[in-house]
Amino acid sequence: MKPILEVKNMTMDFGGLRAIDNLDLFIDKGEIVALIGPNGAGKTTFFNCITGIYTPTSGDVFIDPDGDGKKERINNLKPNLVTRRGLARTFQNIRLFSSMTVLENVMIGCHAVTKAGILGAIFRGPSTKAEENLIVEKSYNILEKIGLAKYVNELAVNLPYGAQRRLEIARAMATEPFLLLLDEPAAGMNPQETLELDALIMKLRDNEGISILLIEHDMKLVMSLSERIYVVDYGKKIGEGTPEDIRSNPVVIKAYLGEEIEEDA
């Protein structure tokens, strides 16, 4: 089995600041992997580099959706093309299209994988209409799976916080990703909402076969969800392994809690 996402020696400089320093990372099919690290460690920058918002200064990003060894380098692709190849992401802050309905938000995601062009949209041949109906149906199914079906025609901005967060995941799912990148999905959630999120992410992996890479500060969620964890600090990888490995890794503990003062008794 080949990894579906492979990042090799990635470096990202902003002027004199090295935000990501020679980072390696891979994700296998069906894995849930977490990327953790103190604030400002370069985690979101890493997401931006993979999804085409930034072009890494050096290094390679390869994808291989089927895991059959046919790798494609996606470093220089624009975000919309990266999305079309099956990488979807959410942001730390909520970035829904607030003045659109819940259904429309999801439909926008679906459009990424449909083909009707501008002329088709204007002249609306039968195939365009059939496609539109299909998209509505597909969007509704996704909302049902994520438990948002009752909000279909609400404006996104009127949803409760936890539901808005889940809608972001639903919208990302609509682009039919093989890998979902979640940037602090549990930020601002109460414990009950976090539990539901935990279940939702597991369900997406188990039922939909989507691999997941998440950035998260809620350690309880990270430890319970992820199979492997990468720890970064100052753009460098300082640890990787199973949750147990990470918990007992002295370098990681140091980065998180600061230098331990030798107690001299």
Partner: protein
């Protein structure tokens, strides 16, 4: 604008109408002609002003849509938009003259000239965006604004050199027909055609934006470009389409007004563009219903002030009104004051 056409028209006739042209007059000169309908004279006069303002407002709206749509998506005031409208009128004139020369029936001339004008204007709008704005997408906003002003001057002077600085007579493409007698002088048939065309364009545009895939993509892009592109939307293409659609409505406005006034000139886009821009700001720039409402309000303001007070101060009233609205509602009539995203 590849070939130059010489007109035989009497030049003094053109000069006479210059002042009329300057303010893109849509008001008829035959006000207070005396009641022919048995209606109260005052009411009749009011109705004339009302429909005159409505017609004028619809033309503003066709142009203002382009300003507001482009602003809604890339937050740029496209100052060259008025020039697109002027180019639409010129194209229609050239094509209709040639077709008439070949003895085509009037209806065919109108349809073909209209289509040619729209297509030609759209290609200008598309190219303009690619040349003048796309390279400046991530530059400071002031750079794009200056680029827009440069584009406007460039297009004006290009048409001036390629065509002429004279006023050119424009054939009346809108036929005068009988309807609604004896009230026809309250709402004339060309005014009716302008109103109907505007309403049809608005309905089509609303449909495009509300219900089609590209419309959803446009709305998504205007709210959050990065998120839209991460959902697979090709933002560059959405921006191009916005320019093309805005150019199409401007070209339609250009043909209607040129045909109604009866003459055109390379400078016609400037005043019309400024007025439409005012209308878009008045309604709340970035909002499509706002642009339409702002245009109608501006059209009526001008019409009533001109009719009841003085036609000399028409522009003064229009801009005074803008200042007042902006003092009390800085974001325009329908604009929402937006909290800055952190």
């Amino acid at each position: 604008m590849d070939f130059h056409i010489t007109y035989m028209a009497d030049d003094s006739h053109n000069r006479r109408d210059e002042s009329r042209f300057k303010n893109i007059y849509l008001l008829r000169l035959s006000y207070k002609t005396g009641s022919r309908t048995g209606l109260n004279m005052d009411l009749e006069y009011f109705s004339q002003l009302f429909f005159g303002g409505l017609t004028r407002g619809s033309i503003y709206a066709l142009i203002a849509l382009g300003y507001t749509m482009v602003y809604g998506i890339i937050e740029l005031i496209n100052f060259a938009h008025g020039e697109i409208y002027m180019i639409g009128a010129f194209t229609a004139l050239i094509v209709s003259s040639v077709l008439t020369l070949f003895g085509m029936p009037v209806l065919a001339v109108v349809v073909l000239a209209g289509m040619a004008a729209v297509v030609y204007s759209c290609s200008y709008g598309y190219t303009m965006e690619k040349i003048a704005y796309k390279p400046l997408r991530n530059a400071p906003r002031l750079s794009a604004l200056i680029s827009a002003i440069g584009m406007s001057l460039f297009l004006q002077n290009y048409v001036l050199l390629a065509q002429t600085s004279d006023f050119l007579p424009f054939p009346s493409l809108i036929p005068d027909f009988e309807f609604w007698e004896p009230y026809a002088h309250i709402l004339t048939s060309p005014e009716l055609v302008i109103l109907i065309t505007t309403v049809v364009v608005m309905i089509l545009l609303t449909f495009l934006i509300k219900f089609t895939k590209i419309g959803k993509a446009m709305r998504a892009t205007s709210q959050d470009k990065m998120m839209a592109s991460l959902l697979g939307i090709n933002v560059d293409r959405v921006i191009s389409v916005t320019f093309v659609v805005g150019s199409a409505t401007a070209a339609i406005g250009g043909i209607l007004i040129a045909s109604h006034i009866g003459q055109i000139n390379f400078y016609m886009g400037f005043i019309a563009g400024i007025k439409a821009f005012v209308a878009a700001v008045l309604g709340g720039i970035g909002s499509i219903p706002g642009a339409v409402l702002g245009s109608l309000v501006l059209g009526w303001t001008e019409s009533f002030f001109t009719g009841y007070i003085s036609s000399d101060y028409e522009d003064v009233f229009a801009f005074l009104f803008l200042v007042l609205i902006l003092i009390f509602r800085p974001s325009g009539i329908l604009g929402r004051s937006q909290a800055q995203k952190v």
